[in-house]
Symmetry: D2
Amino acid sequence: MKIQFNNDREYDIIAIGRACIDLNAAEYNRPMEETMTFIKYVGGSPANIAIGGAKLGLKAGFIGKISDDQHGRFIKKYMNDVGIDTSNIVVDKEGHKVGLTFTEIKSPEECSILMYREEVADLYLTPSEVNENYIRKSKILLVSGTALAKSPSREAVLKAVALAKKNDVKVIFELDYRPYSWASADETAVYYSLVAELADVVIGTRDEYDVMENRTDGKNEETINYLFNHSPELIVIKHGVEGSYAYTKSGETFKGQAYKTKVLKTFGAGDSYASAFLYALITGKDIETALKFGSASASIVVSKHSSSEAMPTVEEIEELITVNA
Amino acid sequence: MKIQFNNDREYDIIAIGRACIDLNAAEYNRPMEETMTFIKYVGGSPANIAIGGAKLGLKAGFIGKISDDQHGRFIKKYMNDVGIDTSNIVVDKEGHKVGLTFTEIKSPEECSILMYREEVADLYLTPSEVNENYIRKSKILLVSGTALAKSPSREAVLKAVALAKKNDVKVIFELDYRPYSWASADETAVYYSLVAELADVVIGTRDEYDVMENRTDGKNEETINYLFNHSPELIVIKHGVEGSYAYTKSGETFKGQAYKTKVLKTFGAGDSYASAFLYALITGKDIETALKFGSASASIVVSKHSSSEAMPTVEEIEELITVNA
Amino acid sequence: MKIQFNNDREYDIIAIGRACIDLNAAEYNRPMEETMTFIKYVGGSPANIAIGGAKLGLKAGFIGKISDDQHGRFIKKYMNDVGIDTSNIVVDKEGHKVGLTFTEIKSPEECSILMYREEVADLYLTPSEVNENYIRKSKILLVSGTALAKSPSREAVLKAVALAKKNDVKVIFELDYRPYSWASADETAVYYSLVAELADVVIGTRDEYDVMENRTDGKNEETINYLFNHSPELIVIKHGVEGSYAYTKSGETFKGQAYKTKVLKTFGAGDSYASAFLYALITGKDIETALKFGSASASIVVSKHSSSEAMPTVEEIEELITVNA
Amino acid sequence: MKIQFNNDREYDIIAIGRACIDLNAAEYNRPMEETMTFIKYVGGSPANIAIGGAKLGLKAGFIGKISDDQHGRFIKKYMNDVGIDTSNIVVDKEGHKVGLTFTEIKSPEECSILMYREEVADLYLTPSEVNENYIRKSKILLVSGTALAKSPSREAVLKAVALAKKNDVKVIFELDYRPYSWASADETAVYYSLVAELADVVIGTRDEYDVMENRTDGKNEETINYLFNHSPELIVIKHGVEGSYAYTKSGETFKGQAYKTKVLKTFGAGDSYASAFLYALITGKDIETALKFGSASASIVVSKHSSSEAMPTVEEIEELITVNA
């Protein structure tokens, strides 16, 4: 099975949600308390996916809200420089700051993060800042689950999803669950299932699907039975080192393997996976190849220092796949 | 056309949303500033509809949150006394009060109201307080638009709608727009269209549909073209004294006339309309008759002092219809 | 001892704080749940004291914030009609409502109240709405403790106290403790002691002084030792039916007796006490007489239906004192 | 004139207020947008003053609230390591983070900063976390104006000031005005004058005194006339490169000169000034010498990379004073 996209669209992918700052430890093998130097990168799941897509050659756009300060200007310039259309990135005029994520690089197994997400600009995107004329120019609208955590960003995303569906833009829902911003598990479950039911493709870890279903120990079989009763035609469920599964509404199941690599840190894996997986779908590759692209991209990023700057090229991905074939 | 209900359900109708206190002027023909005495009634659109339904003989239940004080206890007792099941009315334990509505009775054309709706208990209903086992016992879930105005009530209602659909309970969406509680017109439009698209029956004034569409001067034709692309099978649009229209998905249009009466005050008209209209549908009457029931009930209530206490019996409604036939 | 006032001032007393609506049960001897009719009065401790003072012939002014609605207009008109200068009453332009107090009249011992104090207009008075030119026209600034409960009213009052002291206006601090609005006992204690240390006269119940000292079972001796180290020259501590004590910095102690009466309800006692006590001080009576005036006024008000409308005249007070001499 | 301290106290100085993280640009001569690497230090005015004092040999303590995370632990360890008593630093249990200050080092004249101060832990210090037994062990309580910006920190500081006065601990008020956290200029003026009137020593820039007086173009003469009517016995007003003035209640005026230095960045000047000025007072030096200590310390810190780590020793200060004598 292949997902069919509207090929007459100007953009391959428009992502909506947060663009933030990552401050990654410059010193390795020590806890954050002892880390004295941090290096600045653009971060945030949908921003990383757009950056990853752009580096792979996709025509990408971004809808979001950034701060009217030094960090906001850095983000916009960086995204512009990698070729992302930033015309629909709004500058906040009420003093909200962009989110921050400090990371430590203690060991491949332990990389704690420390997030600053109070009153962040990205969650102040309003429905009136979401433009139908922009969304309908794209093949894909990529929605990050975190953007549903608070009003008015929540409503901006719900409006974007409605406009995408009205204009035959495929909705990709990356669950991207960050407990920090949410009021309650009940609330998360309400919006995650609402948007998952409306999406065309849903991507997440098994744990994230459990959040959507407000349960523990969920089963893939039950999840896909539930979601295939609604809009989704493709569901990707990731099980960490055990690999990932792609299910199609028509009944197929595909299994993807993780590639071995020398892991520096684990963050960034999900975003690089999503960008390469979507790149493969958009360029007409089959689902099995798309799973390989996702895994290869994730494997490259976890061996490097950043999430955004480390996003690989198509050549790097293909080489890794070939080497491991 | 007739709406088909699940006849093996214990409840005819379960309403979700606010139950409040009305304080109606005891002195007529003067502005509220000069009104010194007020009489207390139960109020709030979904509570009034449940009360109206119960007085007509429907088996009704209610999902909502009330204050842990004298007003909350009055509301629960009153609803119990008219035969409503109150087992799913939750008592707030965080000090939230029930809403208040002071009314003046200045003239049939001028009846200003004054609402106390800050941090009211009804908007603190949480998703975890909505029970699937309760909802699936009903033919109808009646949703009031105001309950969507704020979290966590908003999520409680979205969950209730999802549970109703999952369990084949008809969702009736009474738009019931009250600008007071909403953050923005954009936000209202997002949730009104979201729930209207999921509902089986939508009832509102032309102005309320304009709120849903975030526009002015909307046209019935466009509204029904939009909504019939989604779940609704019956749409009622009220045009005040010019009467109301009922549209079916199968293409029929019915017009209902307002009955002449001696108007004391205008509030309460919408709730009495909805309760009698739904009573007629549930008891298997055709849509034309249901429109008459709605108009007759409204005409009776606007001639009396309260919204809840004044709800008519089936005999009163039928007599009025016969007299005006 | 007599308190010395600046006799060249235009106003005898300017009160700062809340003006609200009381909704008193029109039906007696029943709980509020069964009370169906309520009668509207102006309420709120500093408003009642100003009204009481005006009825006794004092030239009174008021600084406060009221709602831009029917209740706000009623309050302003009522205060104007009893002769209070309302030029410094500000009308809220952000939708805040005036507070409400529902009362039941169950028995002389049991009169529960139900308060609506969420986001009330009086607590939104800002420092910039407090005018030095107004305050310096008065002999007395009467400060109600409840006005310290939240910002920006808290800062408006702190500014008013600073301006009063700068302009040789006597500061009377009526502790008027209402737990509802306060974040914590610690916070109350901080502001109560701050203002009590700056005041010239402090009036409150023994329980309210305990709140100021953040303790239980406080002793009058310790309280006056503490406060007389600061600005106060007169301290009144009320012990309910056991009567009240007035202490002077120069070392005198006076005891006041409560007058027997047929009690209808207990609310309103403190405000009527304060207004008559201050009237006596301002008109040059000695402290013993002032205590009698306070007790007589309280005894009259608790036998009547309202707190404000029931405020007695000088003749009524003097007659009661004479009868009981 | 010399300030007299209680020499039998265990601590020379206890500071109350914020302890934060500074993230200083590791790359010089470029705007923050282009700065990619940041170095972490402890920051926050009262923390810096305590650190500066401890490096000069004072026995220092700190009252404040830090986050329960990697940054909070770093701060506490750093302060411990320089010899500050941290027994009264409270760890926040509600998820509040410590404040952050990103700095650029563009040129000696231009060093923009970017602050993260939303819902920061330091402003959640409560009155109940301020202990009388601790405060009364100190000669000095150093109060930072920023700690007055929000409740409950505001009340914690007001309580600390009251306890200091009750226990004969000198209150030093460092105005330390940061507009970011304040609701309005009116509010700042209310609390700045309230605490300045209660303090023994007030230190600030001319601009900060204007904030206290809620005016522009204030005059030193008027400021000291006002404050010497209340508690202060020593007032320091800084005029940047033009030097600073110290005024005593007994009528003396002293002028301090700024020392020439090679400026790297300007932040940190005020804190290093205060710590060395107070060190000199506490160790019994006269006011003229204290002014020199303050200027010398500031001159050393602005030539170095951090605010806290760069705090000088007594020897460094004395050498600079000697060289410039």
